[in-house]
Symmetry: C2
Subunit: 345 residues, 2 copies
Amino acid sequence: MVDGPDAPLRAAVVGTGLIGGSILLRLRAVGADVIGWDPDEATRRQARSAGVPMAEQLSDAVAGRDVVFLGGPLPTLPATLVEVAAATGAECLLTDVGSTKAELTAYAAAQGLTHRFVPGHPMAGTDRAGLGAALPELFDGAAWVLCPAPEGLAAFRRLAALITEVFAAGVVPMAADRHDAVVALASHVPHLLAGALAGAAERSPLRDAVRALAAGSFRDGTRVAGTPPQRTANMLTGNREQVLAALAGVTEYLDELAAALRAGDAATLHARYAEAGTTRRALAARRYDEQTRSFRTDVAPDDEMTWLCGLGLTGGHLTACRTTPSTVSYTVHLPHPTDPAAPLG
Amino acid sequence: MVDGPDAPLRAAVVGTGLIGGSILLRLRAVGADVIGWDPDEATRRQARSAGVPMAEQLSDAVAGRDVVFLGGPLPTLPATLVEVAAATGAECLLTDVGSTKAELTAYAAAQGLTHRFVPGHPMAGTDRAGLGAALPELFDGAAWVLCPAPEGLAAFRRLAALITEVFAAGVVPMAADRHDAVVALASHVPHLLAGALAGAAERSPLRDAVRALAAGSFRDGTRVAGTPPQRTANMLTGNREQVLAALAGVTEYLDELAAALRAGDAATLHARYAEAGTTRRALAARRYDEQTRSFRTDVAPDDEMTWLCGLGLTGGHLTACRTTPSTVSYTVHLPHPTDPAAPLG
């Protein structure tokens, strides 16, 4: 980790809902010196009664810390970032856990914080909310996106080391705008589809029978429609342009399926489902090849930046990051180049 | 059951894929005299090597049976029904497990088989296929739709008794066209959405990163896109008009969500997700009140028919059916009238 056993990591978590709370619990479990703060007084009381140290003031929580994790609702993050930056030293690493990255990344740059703020997004969660749902093992094996910047590469390396070691997550390096385009399709549009399916069922005159006959496809397809509505609304509005662009691709495919169905064209339906099934088979059979990749840290960061951002786009992730005074060495997992999955009958 | 212990039920299953195979295995497990047949020679051999009796000819499988379950691909069912009807006696109960009901019901009526053919649809399955995926407990607690007809009510009662006793399923009585409208929304449209989401991801230039960051919402929302394409194509084309009508309701809701997002209207997004979430909460918290309902069987069947078809539409199901020479008595589970679920924050 960043520090030796004689000097445990001093961390703070601001905003201790599901994600922030899980980060806090994990840091505590590995012996870090960690304290939390949440704007909600009941949450602070709940945490203390569970033996989790919580500060009464945000500034008390973050003062003198090595790293601060920023959680809480997406729209609150810019203001929280500024407040935490003002209450911490120039060496204090800052990161967030928001589900979109471009806006906050640009905001942090405008505030001159790029050298110590590393935008982050742990891809884990449940449809529950709040500290009561937090789990220290929530991030085990999960993807955790970090957005590196040339002027923040040292901070990125420190945080990548911490996240792989403490949380057992795979760090996916990715530019902020690419992250937002990817999660639009990998997370946000699925929330739109789930809402549309559950909402249409709710309005249907056959509603009660639909609930009774809800097949696995309906249950799976509506699950995230049960997410707290405010969280979903924040997530979608925080990534509006990318979500609408990704939705256009999905409705185009849906229109093709509907047109084939309307025409009674079973051959085209079959072909479209064979194509779609490739993604499912790829999800089920993901294999990785492990490599090590090193860079000198006393030269211009262009090669390292290019390699990192390319790695995330090709589906790879980091499982370790070790630094010496003049080098950084990443342990990398790259998707195994497999044969195209054979179409099913 | 239909017969006493001295005369075990004589059953046959024609078409021993996932559903038919699971029916066969369960009947065997409860001690019925059951034999299967499948048009695929390899399937017959596979079944025999697992100790499951299989006939070499369809007519040998069904001759002298009390009940025959018809499985296999949807488009094959009309021809199979005619062939099985010709090879069985007038007292032999016939039922199918196809995922749409109106077409086959009308076909059976035109063939003069309504008095002994009871259209059926067990609402269970996995995204796997074939006898190798069959499980004797597949229907435990599942909904199993049966379509009663005035001139086939005696057959309906016999089959309802058998299915509740042997398979521990809840029998949902429903008119064939209502069934098709309900499953269009409860099963078929979710397959369209899953196909569109997985297909759009497959075509995206960000495909590899989308796979790597696939959140639970994406995994759940695409699961049934991995169903064998031919099965999905048959299911959709077999219920074309109802699927397109249900899809129109879902795309209308999706358009409302997209319009609110485009306008940056977080309040409307919140309201639409609060509405959609009601269906999720209702799925999670289903409770039933048990009742018994009896009818005389020596009078016109209008009351019993009306009650049965209404029961399915209101989300109820049968867990037992007992007959005497002059009465039929159903054990009924009706959805508990709950307060409207409180909206979440």
